[in-house]
Symmetry: D2
Subunit: 334 residues, 4 copies
């Protein structure tokens, strides 16, 4: 039995999901797509063998749709999750859950009230490197982890309209939410955060009110430490790396070479780097949706919950405020 999935959003990442749902994941079928850009929806339907719905409401009302995958812009998540919950259809939602805690709590309440299945999209939790690190920590390889360090860098700045904090949430939400989710996954809840940041590489970011570099320091509720640094000017390549320093060792997750070839010329050894997130996390994206499908089919719990979405957002918003005010911000008492 295959899960018939309706896909909401046919942009760049939406098309990756369309391909995975239609071909790479044996448990799923791509049963429908929607996108406000009708051409984009038609192209995806044509290329990946699906049909186009005219609205989310139609899609959710259609009995041929078993579940929905939401990859539309963040500001649309709230309404879509509420509709899916009301329709009793299992939903998968791409990060971030929302741009405000209020919205995210409405969504959480709706999901819980409806008893609906909801899985949050944080694909790094499905990357073989992060999965291996989690397992090694559980096995005690590095003793007790005491410092969490994570770096996210884009190889080039996104378009200015994307950067706008009104739609993206700003650097610490849009980009940092992955690192803050990892922080919680590996270390538990965050007590307080400080942050510093600025427009250091792309002056035009100032015009929309965002920053291009930031450093956030986390204190977890049990006193352990975390530090996250983010940058839009990782011009050498897409660089996602995390370290867990423990009492008996350390784990470093991430890599920087895409093509398995070294070029050695006059006094120089060189290799390429990772182009962008679709190359770095190709397998993780597929594994994430496959996990969603098999959880729904098997009646299992979501691997990543809506609470995880709310809590990562809480840290990201606190970091944003800390960066803005220069003051330490309490997230949650221990």
């Amino acid at each position: 039995m295959k899960l018939n999935v309706g896909l909401v959003g046919c942009g760049r990442l939406g098309r990756v999901y369309a391909r995975d749902l239609s071909s790479r994941i044996p448990e799923t079928r791509l049963a429908g797509v929607i996108d406000p850009d009708h051409d984009a929806a038609a192209r995806a339907a044509d290329e990946f063998g699906s049909r186009v719905f005219v609205s989310a409401a139609d899609m959710l009302a259609d009995s041929s749709i078993d579940a929905v995958v939401i990859v539309s812009p963040t500001h649309t998540h709230r309404e879509l999750v509420l509709q899916a919950a009301a329709a009793g259809k299992p939903a998968f939602c791409e990060k971030p859950l929302a741009l405000s805690l209020d919205d995210s709590r409405d969504m959480q309440a709706a999901v819980e009230r409806a008893g609906a299945f909801f899985q949050m999209g944080f694909m790094r939790r499905f990357d073989p490197g992060y999965v291996s690190a989690k397992r090694q920590i559980e096995r005690g390889t590095i003793g007790r982890p005491v410092v969490f360090k994570s770096t996210s860098r884009d190889p080039f700045p996104p378009k200015l309209e994307y950067v706008n904090p009104a739609s993206s949430g700003g650097l610490l939400v849009d980009m940092g939410i992955h690192d803050f989710d990892l922080a919680r996954w590996f270390m538990g809840d965050v007590a307080s955060v400080t942050a510093a940041g600025g427009v250091l590489a792309f002056p035009e970011f100032a015009s929309v009110g965002d920053i291009d570099n930031a450093v956030a320091t986390l204190t977890f509720v049990d006193g352990r430490l975390g530090v996250v640094d983010l940058s839009r000017n990782g011009v050498y390549g897409y660089d996602i790396s995390t370290e867990l320093l423990g009492t008996e060792g350390t784990l470093r997750i991430g890599y920087l070479r895409e093509t398995p070839v070294l070029t050695m010329t006059k006094n120089n050894v060189a290799h390429d780097t990772v182009p962008y997130f679709m190359e770095r996390f190709e397998r993780a994206y597929t594994a994430q949706l496959q996990d969603f499908a098999s959880n729904v089919i098997g009646g299992k719990k979501p691997a990543v919950t809506i609470e995880d979405g709310v809590e990562a957002l809480r840290v990201a918003l606190a970091a944003t405020e800390a960066q803005r005010t220069g003051q330490r911000v309490e997230v949650r008492r221990g």
Copy 2:
């Protein structure tokens, strides 16, 4: 329009091809499978959504089959390629082409007579590392390549019945043929070869008449040099690496870490290695069949020809004789 492919052979690699043809390659459909083990054929048909044919003859006679992919044991290749050529059906054949030059020349003659499309399977030519190296050499990055070095090592020995040179061709054919094909692809024809080898790690290999380690030195027709070393005891992991030393630099292809995580404990930094060929060449296998399909559909020439299959075999057999006799063996005059 999709190419309807019949798959001959549902073993370990056959199943990889079944998955790729049925889902990962947009240009193909898995239209039929055969295997002397009927259960294996039925399982593959069921899992990847295809039908079972009772014989290659039936499959080739069926008008719903546009082309065949041959992944059956080497000794069956000759008959299958002859039948496909006679039926005028495009064929893809896994390496090695055959175990004897006579067989391989019969196959080449049949393909040429029939004017049939035939593509030889040497998946390393589709690996991003080897592809990048080829391009860099064409661009002149390392000047003129003068020494070719290639290493192939299995992480554990195959079963003894597989090792038997009567069916595998022996270490220098079964394993070395990939390296000899790369040698030709990067450097051109081989003039002569010397080789040394022995049973050094697995004494049981002697009972079937094969060796488990070998070193072969190649002299190309223009005097340039090559060296290939092969081992069944790469117990640390599957290790395929090639170097092209040029007058202006060198290129090194290959990698040894599978999971992007480093584990650092008391005085030690460690990482895992590549499990086996399906992990190392997963993308190359898919790209190879996709290339076959698009060549057939587009009426293009094969990327790897039957002559490439014959010539790589010629070098492998010469190396085998050189290892047996201890003498230099002429392959082809410059």
Copy 3:
């Protein structure tokens, strides 16, 4: 003409300096040693061919002594530097300059008043990696550096009596001062600092009032960013690494393998790590003293000034206060 150097302090690092001054640095002779532990002084004098003085005063008064190298405990630096300045003898002083800003300013005033030659010991500035990074930044290789990141980790905790902040200054002074000096060297003056830290690995540190892990975030006077993380539990090896992220690239300084051998066994690739600071910075220590000697002999300016010592201490003390109070601390206005 050789510089006759008197060495003050014959402990672990003192003996390294004794060896360098007596043999590895062509420009110097080890002309005298002192240490409150008379046996230690006698052993060093015997092993490295020098004579023992009974006090710093005697040594500074002796006409056979051209200059002094101070490697004694930090609390003795003030008095020694004042005496050397009064005696008009060139002095080299190991980091940190002092434990309080008051002391350090007294020393600066004395040196300036006397017009004496004084060179501050920050050996990382003489490490080939840091030197190369500095040069590459000057050449513009990475554009404008915008984020400074630095990590220092000891492979095992020092003795508790050494850790005691009363004598060591605490983690952020004792260990962090190197990173704060690098921050200034690469990026300029620091405007403000926040810090978090705790006793996370060695509970006994609490008994002397020090912490074993810390993260400090720096904002430079021009708004650029820095982050320093320090740990006493780098149990895998001595790990000193620094990154300079620029608008056109990034530089990473440091290494983690000491012996040039890789050991690859069942599914595992491993290498050793750097034992401790004497291995990591062996060449830097020698180069630093050689630079001191050739500056004195050649009448050149010191490569690292007493002001560098004062300012690095200022940042380290601000970070210590920030960690204690949880508040951002102003260092200096832009």
Copy 4:
């Protein structure tokens, strides 16, 4: 008590030895130097604090000289070793021992007859990487080593007069002798060798009768395998690397980065390489002479014997003949 060493030869490597004997090795004093280039001798004597002798005979006759270190051109080794043996003075001799087996056997006979102390110079045996590999093999880390692989590459070709086989012995002697010595050190005696080579990068080598690239395959007396490849066009950097493949793992010795800094710019990660042998083996050279001195002083046996010098030469000459004739050459029966 220090060993008073007379140094024969003040060329490039001679000056390294002069520095080590005069300052870095506590057990020695540089008591005299000679060189047919009197200016070179005078400069070395002046710089490293020694006196100039007019001839080896004078030096060996002088009672202030305890031992000699021979770093003069290879063709002078025979006479010098004979003289030292006759004078009863311990001698250290740089590789290769001689250019012919006849000469080397005369030397061996003279040393044995005189009962003189003689230590052969193969500095790689003192490199921390090779030392660690030896120890790990003795400990059984990789089981039984079955394949020896070694690569030596110069970053640029030597001067043509140096290359001339009449004085250098040719590529397989001059450069390969280090790898052949390692082969014997790790694996034991060699039974036979094949080799291929040519002038592939520097056409001018043909004018003096040498080649610039070669591959030699070794069969050890117990049937194990070895392969050595040599090149004068390692233009990317000085590259010395060796692998020992065993039944339970593999060891890889060597490194390619000199300065601990990575430079990451647009889509590229790069580092420098090792400039040349003096950087790569700086410590090994010092450790080698220190070992010589402490063996002489302590009345111990030489770490590397004259027989090691003879046998490495025997393999190198056999490889040279194998390359010239294209035939397998017997070295020694098992």
